[in-house]
Assembly symmetry: D2
């Protein structure tokens, strides 16, 4: 089968690989219908993810059809259409039983990382019963690719951790795909204002179309002042960090109101300065999280009932044969205006 292979820092190729096989009774083999590329895939390609060895098939998102299942799989059968979760959850360990699937001692984020992933014609998914989700008949399967990772990530790490409330004020620092996923799902809770902050005018325009009540282009160096002015000097109840660099985290520190929350989504490569000399007495909380995908069933219901439309995040489509073009498009989002790119297998 065709598969996108990580060949070491800076190198990738579409190669022929053997079709995967069941290796444990809890496995399933999924024929991929559609997959996508994540910012994390770009991190891997830069060599920033040491757990991912050269030779790996990348990809941890997608929808597909169950091809075969192991002997202990009871909830899925060949022919079922499924969402493949980016997190593999054994369902048995202490973390899984607490709903912290991201820290599953037998799984976690392994797809396209420590085991072969979804940017291929087929994928082997471990712990199928607790890592796949049934696609309802008649659903928009392409939109549901967004439920593999980006929508639950924005929702769990940003919106739920950030405790967005009706009437509240929210700022999202970073208007890329993940910030926009947080923007879309924050609206489940009817906050009074959602302020998007970014350097990219195009992405801010998209944010405005996706429901932001205000956008701040940070290129003038006055994002903090502007956000404070927009909130009457009080700051925001929830500040969501959706970039992963020190400056954007410090922006969150600067604009969070007393009693507020900074919900970090960004993947950080270096430490950040936590200004406890200003924050120690501000009654704030800071949260971090690797998506657990525990909210996938809930998100599926919100999609099916049209409370959110994840299609909005999809800007480009490619065939698997042209996945290298898809990577190019996704990697140069400033020029291509790409958010999420769909790859049809």
């Amino acid at each position: 089968m065709k598969a996108l292979i990580y060949q070491g820092p800076g190198k990738k190729a579409l190669e022929d690989r053997p079709k995967p096989e069941i290796t444990a009774p809890t496995d399933a083999i999924i024929r991929i219908l559609k997959t996508t590329i994540c910012g994390t895939d770009l991190h891997i390609l830069k060599g920033d993810v040491p757990t991912c060895a050269p030779g790996r098939i990348l990809g941890h998102e997608g929808v597909g059809v169950v091809e075969s299942v192991g002997s202990a799989v009871t909830a899925f059968h060949p022919g079922d259409h499924v969402i493949v979760s980016c997190i593999s959850s054994c369902g048995k360990c202490d973390y899984c039983r607490k709903g912290m699937y991201s820290h599953c001692v037998n799984g976690g984020w392994i797809l396209g990382n420590t085991i072969d992933g979804t940017q291929a014609e087929y994928v082997r998914t471990p712990f199928a019963d607790t890592s796949l989700y049934h696609i309802p008949a008649g659903a928009d399967e392409e939109a549901l690719v967004m439920l593999s990772d980006i929508l639950p990530t924005g929702f769990e790490c940003g919106v739920l951790n950030g405790k967005v409330q009706p009437g509240a004020s929210v700022a999202i620092v970073g208007s890329g795909p993940i910030g926009l996923a947080a923007l879309l799902t924050a609206q489940f809770y009817s906050p009074a204002e959602i302020i998007m902050i970014d350097f990219d005018g195009n992405r801010l325009e998209m944010a405005a179309r996706f429901g932001a009540t205000a956008t701040i282009n940070a290129t003038d160096g006055k994002a903090v002042e502007t956000a404070m002015a927009l909130t009457g000097g009080r700051g925001v109840d929830t500040a969501i960090e959706a970039v992963g660099v020190p400056a954007s985290f410090v922006t969150c520190e600067d604009i969070v109101a007393p009693g507020g929350i900074i919900a970090n989504i960004g993947v950080h490569g270096v430490k950040v300065a936590l200004h406890l000399e200003r924050l120690w007495d501000r009654n704030i909380a800071i949260t971090t999280r690797l998506v657990d995908t525990v909210t996938t069933p809930m998100l599926l219901k919100t999609v099916q009932s049209h409370k959110v439309d994840p299609q909005k995040l999809i800007t480009h489509r490619f065939k698997l044969d042209h996945i290298l073009d898809a990577y190019e498009t996704f990697a140069h989002a400033a020029e291509t205006h790409a958010l999420k790119v769909i790859i049809e297998a």
Copy 2:
């Protein structure tokens, strides 16, 4: 009346001052029976608290007798024995109505800071109805001095924010009075282990007597390794920072388990390094808080029902005439083994 006056950095004196008078209908005048000294008073004396001007009567803790009340005070009457809360709460502003008295726009921590405090024979307390608490007949009034500040601080900022749970593992970095207050109140929730970390062997001995299940003397530079070993390599569910310096905060970062909480109590003067490059995917929360004293009624019930004995924190007693000696004793805790010193007015 006699009162302890802050005279500018490094200077204090016991002076004669006029007895305070009612200036607002919500005021009360309290004849102080017993007061105490807080670490914050030492900060003021170092010149670290710019809001506190020379000439100020220090002190924000104490029990006393109501001498007189303003026309709008309805819950207290002359002769009532009361706890004076370190936080003055107007009861009306948005923050007060949310239970965040520390950020009261009309009050907050003002006693012994922006208005005269309790280290005197009398004190004027604003917003009496919402800042004083009745002492039940027969209560140990000296013990209740601990309810002005230190016990709610340890409890609210450390234990409640840290969500201590039955069977959980807790580490408290800092075994001074505030760390010990967290230790005492953490036991309300029956954690399986409470590990105290400090450099001072005497304080760790006290911690062991107060209920710590393990103590770690950090002088060998191996506190993190030891704490990790004690928790089977998993780390603690709750790490309470009770010092206020970068190193102790980073210790908390190093020992918090995935899914755990770092609850900061310490007053920090400089920023700390937040290692998001390690913590971004650990599903942790970090909390800060200035004590709100919303739990004073709850704590009063726990004291009255003998669930906690705040007397344990009291090591020395002085008359108001000798308050300078009390300051000496408190300021040299390493030698005097002082925790909280009682000053009788």
Copy 3:
């Protein structure tokens, strides 16, 4: 001034009464701009509310202008436009400090009950600082009459107690004004489905226009079967009782899913049958609540940011001179299709 007087069971009249005066330092006198009639007023008129003595001016809702304030009132000044909350909160008692204003030992629901109310040209409001809310400049004041009682009641007792969640299923039994207020505010949380149940086709039509995803006319005696069918046999996550009779409460028992919540809003005059023989092992919760109006500031923000439009609840308008007509219209809602009627003073 003109005022609507309860004259004993079955009797009411528009009478001349002296203008009220400040009697406590925490009082305010409000010139009423607009008020309305509540189902509870009809209960009083039936003689069902023994705390309300003949001679009482009715009404516990309204917006107006501050005419004068007592000496201890600091947050409001003559000329301020305000919402009068149906609940008077002293801000000092244990219940108020816990956010349970409805049980304020000095106030609670007293307006138009144990003290004179708002269906008059003027009203004296006790505890003004903690029982009035500023109307923002430019707001739709008529719509804000709905924030005195009906919107917070539907929201707090129904939606918040019922823990409505994104993607969840909700049923509201009773599509009168209070059920519709729950319907409007439930949408803050983006549930997948909101099923309205009533006997009145007109009200169900209104519910459909207000956002119900399904309506069930219970006249065929099959409401339970229909609701179960709509939820795939599972039942609803939240069942809101908005009538106040045994049959509608039992309907909630019959349709609540395992793990679900029955949130009671209805004012009940007799006991109901709780079928614990079926429910003891269903992991459900049942909640009751008299509105606390703690969410008034939050609701004000949702109205100002157009997340909810309470104007939808207003069907008729009258001058105070014709308040008896307003009562007629409101009391015969089945024929008049009245929801809330506005009375301009």
Copy 4:
């Protein structure tokens, strides 16, 4: 092997049965070391549990040694010492993933009910990985029999649902084994008072020894008055129903304070009267629950750290050969003063 067989209403016998065998890859066979009898077993014997057919081996509690495991079991191996949970959880269904194992669509309470149970030399446990718990080396295995059912039931249904808090007041109606389990675990949260109510003086004496701060013998018909007097007329924050009859539930309604919770543990056979005409405006919650045993790992830690001693609940011991005597002893608790009886297999 020997096994206690339910032979239809009123009839039971110790019979010889074939040793159970693995029938699904997720099964385990456990050699029972110690089991016990539950009140529910007596209900079955009365014919009150229609799901349990004659011929069934009774028992849903116990500790034992893993004899063999199915091919998909990964967390347990032959020779492991384990607690058998009364609830079988598949770990995969929606309910299991929400922590509501009691409603597992593939399991739930099936042991000794719809499949053969633990009052035998061996038992087959389905879903072994998610329904068994490792016993730590050196633990008191007899005490851990209490973790199969009674301790999590008292804790989850009574204490957790009842939100017992430090300094709070708790009443437990029913001082039998399950009420006493609630009493033991309520103390994890340091309530100020725990009032036990029962008709049996002996059980109340035991309650006093187990930590009750007050006991009320209800035989004089004045339990409500006495409880109200003990709480200064305010009522209790948490009322736990641990009997399962209408009268004891109504007692809970009568003594719950505004804002309080009634947490039902009792198994009810008939409906109860819910006095909403008194309770609709009291801001209370009523909860029901079949134990989920999600807290078993937490409880195991509390036992291992000596925060609770479940041994206190064990009053008698028998060999499996004499299990009929054990039933006699347990069924006549008023005379025998039995709480939990241990049966050694």
